[in-house]
């Protein structure tokens, strides 16, 4: 059955609607070009005395402004009421409402909006006593037209539509061009009737609105009026219904407010960008330009030519962006669009066909790369940049009115307050609801960039919240002006904030692919503002969006932050989102419901756990911070929140965290091993004793450079997790304690730099607290000592010390006298003071440096004794300085005569002296380490003390040396270069021995005459066809005179290998290894090697690739990460895609645009380039990378792995051999 037949059949059914004259019914749909085009004809044919328009009655006075010739569409008209009720109508040239208003003005016919006022307070009617009325109204409305069971389904099926939008398109919009205006009217009424028939639950608001409209029709009785309503409402205005429901309507309407005070109306200019549905503004439509041009078209041919010109412009735009989309592509798209329309029995191709044709012909199945470009070109062509204008007579905006009344109602200073009256407000937000509402309004004003309020207390950090907020508020000069300017976003403050956020989100995500959604930082920022400002709907949307791409893209820290926000919402600590009625302050603050909070927490937790996989190899303290937060969340907040959620989730999560920690402890990066041990102890999976023995093992094993490095990193990782616990319970440090006590001075000093390095990462205040708790176990005296010392009252202290010492010695003698067989073992702990005293004495008797001093030195506090210990400590102070964070600016309390002021201390040693000191104190190997580390910390002179001839080559040292190379003046760099050269050469030689086996004998199947071991049979037969002969039995055979072989690749091959190396964070081992590998690869005749280093900029170092040292010296470390840019540069240099390999070395912490990165990878793959992403290139194969991004990259075709140089050589070899 075709369309005509169905319509024929249904025509009779909708006849009453069509024939209705009181009033004449015109069913419309917002932004319907077909209706807008033929509306003047429809109206002219009826020559009405008045036009009833489905707009709120509040607009009655504004119709004139809308119709004013000075007003240029698009514009938006809005009405808002205090309770938050809002009507918002954007209007363009293709909006039938606007066409009707213009027609009315031109022909002098009054246009009357007759829909429910926003100030009606219809919600108040929803009580139980009105239910009966609604029921009766519903049944009355149903009885008016023949019951067309399943008409909608039938229509949809026969026209092959998936939703009502498509049905409208195919039923009304597409045939409109060929039909008369009366046919269009019939069709649109038919559509409305079908939809209504399908709608089983008409909501109360609709019923009230229809009752209002009916009442208005009754009031205008007698006049020859036309009602312009949504086609859905048409059946509700039938004359028969008007009669039957008169009483019911009246009953219902008396319950409504009659005086609509407090309704603010505003008319603002609008733009096509805002009108486009994708902008996120309400009541929009897709592709306004399309509709705009449709409404101007007069014939089917014209519409066709519009489509053609749109396709051509899109192709042109694509070409401008550097993609191939030429005339044949456009031709094919146009043909496809027309043929699709024909196949579907449509008179003209609609927007749907246009989109489908473009997708099939231009996107080429690549949603990420080309698809996005096509979408962007389409957006540019079809959204356009048309800007509306309102006539100059329009009264001032509603926003100003609503803000003023808001300020008044909350007792905040408004523009009538005296100018000087800047007030400081203290808001007790969690106890007073009014304060809460005020705080939210102030936040909204800030978010809307309206200069009015400024917060003066420190904003909360992490989970710490201020209970009392303080604000400076004043109605300033710019306030009014800004409010006027912001009115384009809406008529209410909340709406404006919403608009601002919307615009910001759009701005920020412009580079991102729409499939990916906004970057995590943007999501978090938006979510934070939305929650603070109490934008419930938006909060819900962002919370919803957390579960999608955010989870893929966010880093651990971001995930934990998101979870924190969610958690705060759940317990009602977010000012803008009260969770119970007691906290609410209607109408500004309503209770916030979001039933998926628990589920969201659970899901975020799961992703956090997923994310761990990428962190096993991390050496970055920031990642441990993330872990620490996760752990804290786990221990405290989580158990409560999850208890109400899913069963068993907590256990599963706990199990995963434990498993991860256990694996990491075995195989992870150094810092992460420590952190994992810390986590296991905190979770009490690992008993404290085990941690103690583990940590003593770390110290004990630190016998060479590498292991000392390891000690430093591992210990520091563990400390990050356990520091707070250690401060309150020093027994966590027993492992260190025990080992350190047993060492002689020499052994202790070799480990000292590493130990101090581990502690150095914490703030001086933290370290001091740790020291204090540690010293407490030794003796009270020590504590007294230090506090007295800090008073710089040297004399008193010395006296006190002498007295205490005396007491101690007497006590010791007494003990010995009482208990002659007392064994002084370190573990015996009968009396902590006595025990500690004894230790102190013992150790200082045995060795030169006492335990207290040993701890002081490790923690970077000057030791007590003026011996060797203080020298060592001072030497290390040279390296470490005072540290950062809390307490860094005050002098450490324990530092006698520190640098501040003119101390009595000796002048700082020169580097030469220092190096001598180090050598003497720590031994030559440790000395080299310390110097290297000092160099890394920026002490240029330290490098000069290292001897290039005897240096031990290690990646770590090279890294340190290189990291200062960039900032070195030429005349001082000679030594450094020499040193680096030595190290580089030695390392490169070691590496080359390992890598070469994988690369030897690369062949490619190239035919050659040269004899090799591989015969190319196919070519041999073909080339020898001339030598065919017949055998005696008549069969033919070939004499192979000329043999063809497959050449070995060495001479033939021309492969291109491109290293794209991320140098954003630090000079990591991967960077060094990349340079070394590149140099080794470049020695192979078969390969051309390029080397591209990138951060947010790109440097092409291909010229230096054979000399890794120069190359590494050229690399400037630092800046953000723009992987896409690096890849784009790599792509630009690729000449033979099928013979090119791209190796991307990065941690995948993309800082600019993941979308761009993906599309670059995609493009590379499409070109036929073989790509691999290396999360790390080093010997350990444990990487630190962003697991989410890496997964995405892998899904578009670039495998990601952490590999050793041999493995990389294997991979390159395999590809070149064509395996």
């Amino acid at each position: 059955m075709n369309r005509e037949a169905i319509c024929e059949e249904l025509n009779d059914w909708v006849r009453p609607l069509y024939d209705c004259r009181t009033p004449s019914l015109i069913g419309i749909r917002h932004h319907s070009a077909a209706i807008a085009r033929s509306l003047p004809d429809m109206l002219a044919a009826r020559s009405p005395t008045c036009i009833l328009l489905e707009l709120p009655t509040d607009f009655a006075d504004w119709i004139d402004y809308l119709g004013d010739p000075e007003t240029v569409a698009p514009v938006a008209i809005a009405a808002a009421e205090r309770s938050g009720e809002l009507a918002f109508y954007p209007m363009a040239d293709f909006s039938p409402e606007l066409v009707a208003i213009r027609w009315g003005r031109k022909h002098n016919v009054p246009v009357i909006p007759f829909d429910l006022s926003v100030g009606s307070g219809w919600r108040n009617v929803l009580g139980s006593d009105s239910q009966g009325v609604f029921q009766r109204l519903k049944s009355a409305a149903r009885s008016q037209l023949p019951e067309g069971q399943g008409v909608m389904d039938r229509l949809m099926r026969h026209l092959h539509c998936n939703d009502s939008g498509q049905l409208w398109e195919r039923l009304v919009e597409s045939p409109a061009m060929l039909g008369s205006h009366e046919t269009i009217r019939t069709m649109s009424l038919l559509f409305g009737w079908a939809v209504r028939n399908n709608e089983h639950a008409i909501d109360a608001r609709t019923l009230i609105r229809e009752a209002t409209m009916r009442q208005a029709v009754r009031d205008s009785k007698g006049s020859n009026s036309v009602a312009l309503i949504g086609s859905f409402h048409a059946p509700a205005l039938l004359p028969s219904l008007l009669d039957s429901t008169a009483k019911l309507d009246a009953e219902l309407l008396t319950m409504l407010n009659r005086d609509h005070i407090g309704v603010g109306v505003s008319l603002v200019p609008y733009s096509f960008e805002q009108l486009d549905e994708r902008s996120g503004y309400p009541a929009g439509i897709r592709d306004p330009i399309w509709h705009q041009r449709m409404v101007q078209a007069n014939s089917a041919e014209e519409i066709d030519s519009i489509s053609v010109s749109i396709i051509v412009s899109i192709c042109k735009e694509l070409r401008r962006r550097g993609f191939v989309a030429s005339t044949p592509d456009a031709t094919e798209a146009i043909r496809m669009m027309r043929d699709l329309a024909t196949l579907r029995g449509l008179a003209i191709a609609g927007r749907g066909e246009l989109m489908e044709a473009l997708q099939s012909c231009l996107v080429q199945g690549e949603l990420y790369g080309r698809g996005r470009e096509v979408a962007r070109a389409m957006e540019l062509v079809l959204v356009g940049r048309v800007q509306g204008k309102v006539c100059s007579r329009v009264p001032r905006c509603g926003l100003a009115v609503s803000v003023e009344s808001l300020l008044q109602s909350l007792g905040l200073p408004d523009k009538f307050a005296s100018k000087a009256e800047a007030r400081e407000l203290k808001l007790d937000v969690l106890r007073s609801n009014k304060d809460r509402a005020r705080a939210v309004v102030l936040r909204q004003l800030c978010a809307a960039n309206i200069p009015y309020a400024k917060r003066t207390d420190t904003i909360e950090q992490g989970n710490r919240e201020n209970l009392i907020e303080s604000w400076d508020v004043a109605f300033q000069q710019g306030t009014s002006a800004t409010i006027e300017a912001m009115s384009r976003y809406g008529v209410e403050l909340a709406q404006v904030v919403e608009g601002v956020l919307q615009a910001a989100a759009k701005q920020d995500t412009q580079d991102e692919g729409s499939e990916l959604g906004p970057a995590p930082t943007i999501v978090l920022q938006q979510l934070r503002i939305a929650t603070e400002c109490g934008l419930q709907e938006r909060t819900r949307n962002w919370l919803d969006s957390l579960e999608s791409h955010f989870e893929q893209l966010a880093s651990l820290v971001e995930l934990v932050e998101a979870a924190t926000i969610v958690g705060r919402i759940a317990i009602g600590h977010v000012v803008g989102l009260p969770v119970s009625e007691e906290q609410a302050f209607a109408p500004m603050l309503r209770v916030f419901h979001y039933d998926k909070l628990a589920g969201l927490t659970a899901s975020l937790l799961r992703v956090c756990l997923d994310r761990l996989e990428g962190l096993s190899g991390s050496e970055d303290p920031v990642d441990v911070v993330g872990l620490h937060e996760l752990l804290g969340w786990f221990r405290e907040d989580l158990s409560d929140q999850l208890a109400s959620g899913e069963v068993g989730l907590y256990e599963v999560a706990m199990a995963r965290l434990t498993t991860w920690s256990e694996n990491t402890l075995r195989n992870g990066g150094q810092r992460m091993q420590g952190a994992a041990a810390g986590i296991l102890s905190v979770l009490e999976v690992m008993p404290q004793s085990e941690f103690v023995s583990l940590s003593s093992g770390w110290v004990d094993s630190a016998v060479n450079t590498e292991l000392r490095q390891r000690l430093r990193n591992t210990l520091s990782g563990a400390l990050q997790i356990l520091l707070a616990r250690m401060q309150s319970d020093p027994s966590w440090l027993d492992g260190l304690e025990e080992r350190i006590r047993s060492y002689s001075d020499e052994v202790f000093l070799t480990r000292l730099p590493a130990l101090r390095g581990a502690f150095h990462e914490f703030s001086p205040a933290d370290r001091e607290r740790l020291l204090a708790s540690k010293l407490e176990t030794y003796s009270e005296r020590e504590t007294l000592m230090s506090s007295a010392d800090s008073d710089s009252d040297q004399k008193d202290v010395t006296e006190l010390y002498a007295i205490l010492r005396q007491c101690d010695l007497e006590a010791r003698q007494a003990v010995e006298a009482e208990m002659p067989d007392w064994v002084f073992g370190p573990q015996l702990n009968a009396d902590p003071i006595a025990n500690a005293n004894r230790d102190e004495t013992d150790v200082s008797q045995m060795h030169g440096i006492g335990m207290g001093d040993r701890w002081r030195m490790m923690l970077g506090v000057p030791p007590q004794s003026q011996s060797r210990a203080s020298m060592a400590a001072r030497s290390l102070d040279q390296l470490y300085g005072r540290g950062q964070g809390e307490g860094a600016r005050n002098k450490l309390s324990n530092r006698p005569g520190s640098r501040s002021g003119g101390g009595t201390e000796a002048a700082q040693p020169t580097i030469a002296e220092w190096s001598d000191d180090l050598e003497e104190l720590f031994g030559s190997q440790v000395c080299q380490e310390v110097l290297g580390e000092s160099a890394a910390a920026g002490n240029l002179a330290a490098v000069e003390a290292i001897d290039p001839e005897t240096v031990q080559p290690s990646i770590a040292l090279l890294r340190n040396v290189l990291s200062i190379a960039g900032g070195l003046p030429e005349h001082r760099s000679e030594h450094l270069r020499k040193l680096a050269k030595q190290i580089t050469e030695k390392l490169a030689n070691q590496l080359a021995v390992r890598m070469r086996p994988a690369l030897s004998g690369l062949t490619a199947p190239r035919p050659t005459r040269r004899r090799t071991r591989r015969l190319n049979l196919h070519r041999t037969i073909r080339d020898n066809l001339v030598n065919a002969y017949r055998r005696e039995d008549g069969r033919s055979s070939i004499l192979a005179k000329r043999l063809v072989f497959n050449a070995s690749s060495k001479r033939e091959m021309d492969w291109h290998l491109t290293f794209v190396v991320d140098v954003s964070g630090s000079m990591t081992e991967s960077v060094v290894y990349s340079a070394l590998c590149a140099a080794i690869f470049s020695e192979l005749p078969a390969l051309t090697v390029r080397f591209i280093a990138f951060s947010t900029e790109v440097i092409d170092l291909s010229g230096q690739v054979s000399d890794p040292l120069t190359l590494l010296l050229e690399v400037q470390v630092g800046g953000g990460t723009n992987i896409g840019l690096g890849l784009r540069h790599a792509r630009a240099g690729i000449k033979v895609p099928s013979r090119s390999l791209v190796v991307l070395v990065s941690d995948f912490e993309e800082g600019v645009s993941v979308g761009q990165l993906l599309s670059e990878v995609r493009t590379l793959k499409e070109m036929g380039v073989k790509c691999i992403g290396l999360a790390a290139l080093d010997d350990r194969g444990v990487a630190r990378f962003h697991e989410g991004t890496a997964k995405l990259v892998a899904s578009v075709g670039m495998p990601v792995a952490a590999v050793s140089p041999e493995k990389l050589a294997d991979w390159v070899g395999q590809h070149i051999r064509g395996l």
Partner: protein, 390 residues
């Protein structure tokens, strides 16, 4: 999107289709084709086409149970053979009527090949002209090869020429299918470029008129490609521009997928093997597991770690068939659910060792929670976790 098993196979009238393991579409749907052809007898259609575009769409998407035919006695309902949006099929048909080839892309197991087969049958009446792309596909299979013995014997004559399916399709004006085009080496793929743009194949070895084969009206190419599969060579940009792309998505509706798996599995089993009807509960269970793992999210909204392998509908069918077959041949005390984890592991574990962990994580999460909710089948499945750890 696997063909719905037809309740009534037209096997009775056909010559022993049982002898063929899987009869081609033109045999299976011969009756429908004949009917549609009769109806289209005097309608205009693109050159070389068996049916009008409208009828081709109907042939593939079915008529939703409505009987059609030239007369009341001679009418039947056309079955739905492809589960998916009618729009896609319409676009495919329109594309084929034009000058570009059609490239169906999508994840493995989304019935791209089947759609291609149906289109060739609907438009050209045969699905025989096909090239299966592999890494070893040579240019001979796209252009032409030589019968070397005859070449030696008689020199380059048309008789010594071995035409490729492409060449045959060009001569006869039919559609040809190129399966897995991205598996071929790029050089080989590019052989299609000149054929698609010039619609002419030049044979330099032959002289005169025979040196060119021109495409008759109706010739076109349907290619399929798994753009996300591993180890594929990319298509060149030039070749891409000769194709219109249609992306085929996995089946959106869970119930439909279950019906499909069950019916498809039934049709793959022989009479002996399918003594009992396939257990619906088992299929439901299997489809749920597959969908969870495929999408990374369960219907309840729980997150699942996706394995690196593709969890296609076709794989679900294979697992179902295997389990049912096992039950038929080793019937004593057979519990179909107990076989599920093992088969699943076989599907999931292809080349990434971590996939086992992911599967176990799925068991620890959703499976356990569903079991705790009290569903006996899930409970049973949950108990079988041990199989995965072996």
């Amino acid at each position: 999107m696997i063909p719905m098993a037809k309740s009534k196979q037209p096997s009775a009238s056909e010559p022993t289709p049982n002898a063929i393991q899987s009869p081609p579409a033109e045999v299976r749907y011969a009756a429908e084709l004949k009917l549609l052809q009769e109806m289209d007898a005097d309608k205009t259609r693109p050159g070389g086409w068996l049916l009008t575009p409208q009828s081709v769409v109907d042939f593939i998407c079915g008529t939703e149970g409505q009987k059609i035919g030239p007369s009341k006695s001679n009418s039947m309902a056309i079955s739905e053979k492809f589960v998916g949006s009618r729009d896609i099929v319409q676009r495919c048909v329109v594309t084929l009527a034009g000058e570009r080839g059609l490239l169906l892309v999508g994840e493995p197991g989304t019935a791209k090949s089947m759609l291609g087969e149906l289109l060739t049958v609907g438009i050209s009446g045969t699905s025989a002209l096909a090239v299966q792309g592999t890494a070893g596909t040579t240019e001979d299979q796209i252009r032409y090869g030589w019968n070397y013995a005859m070449l030696l014997d008689r020199g380059p004559t048309p008789e010594a020429l071995i035409p490729s399916p492409v060449m045959q399709a060009m001569r006869t004006g039919k559609l040809m299918r190129f399966e897995e085009v991205t598996r071929c080496l790029p050089e080989v793929q590019d052989g299609l470029i000149s054929i698609l743009s010039e619609r002419r194949l030049i044979i330099p070895e032959l002289l005169g008129e025979q040196s060119s084969v021109f495409a008759a009206p109706g010739f076109n190419v349907i290619a399929t490609a798994n753009l996300r599969d591993r180890g594929v060579s990319e298509m060149s940009a030039a070749l891409k521009r000769r194709f219109n792309f249609e992306t085929i998505a996995p089946i959106a509706d869970a119930e439909r997928e279950a019906v499909l798996v069950s019916s498809r599995a039934t049709s793959m089993l022989t009479e002996d093997e399918r003594k009992d009807p396939i257990d619906n509960a088992l299929v439901q269970l299997l489809v749920t597991v597959f969908r969870d793992l495929r999408s990374g999210r369960t219907a309840e909204g729980w997150q699942v770690q996706q394995p690196s392998t593709v969890m296609s509908t076709a794989e679900a069918v294979a697992v179902t068939t295997a389990i049912v077959r096992e039950g038929a041949f080793f019937p004593s005390g057979f519990d179909p659910v107990s076989r599920l984890p093992g088969h699943l592991l076989g599907v999931v574990m292809k080349d990434d060792a971590k996939d086992r962990e992911r599967l176990i994580a799925y068991w620890n999460g959703p499976v356990r929670r569903r079991a705790e909710a009290g569903d006996p089948l899930w409970k049973r499945l949950s108990e079988l976790r041990i199989v995965l750890e072996a």
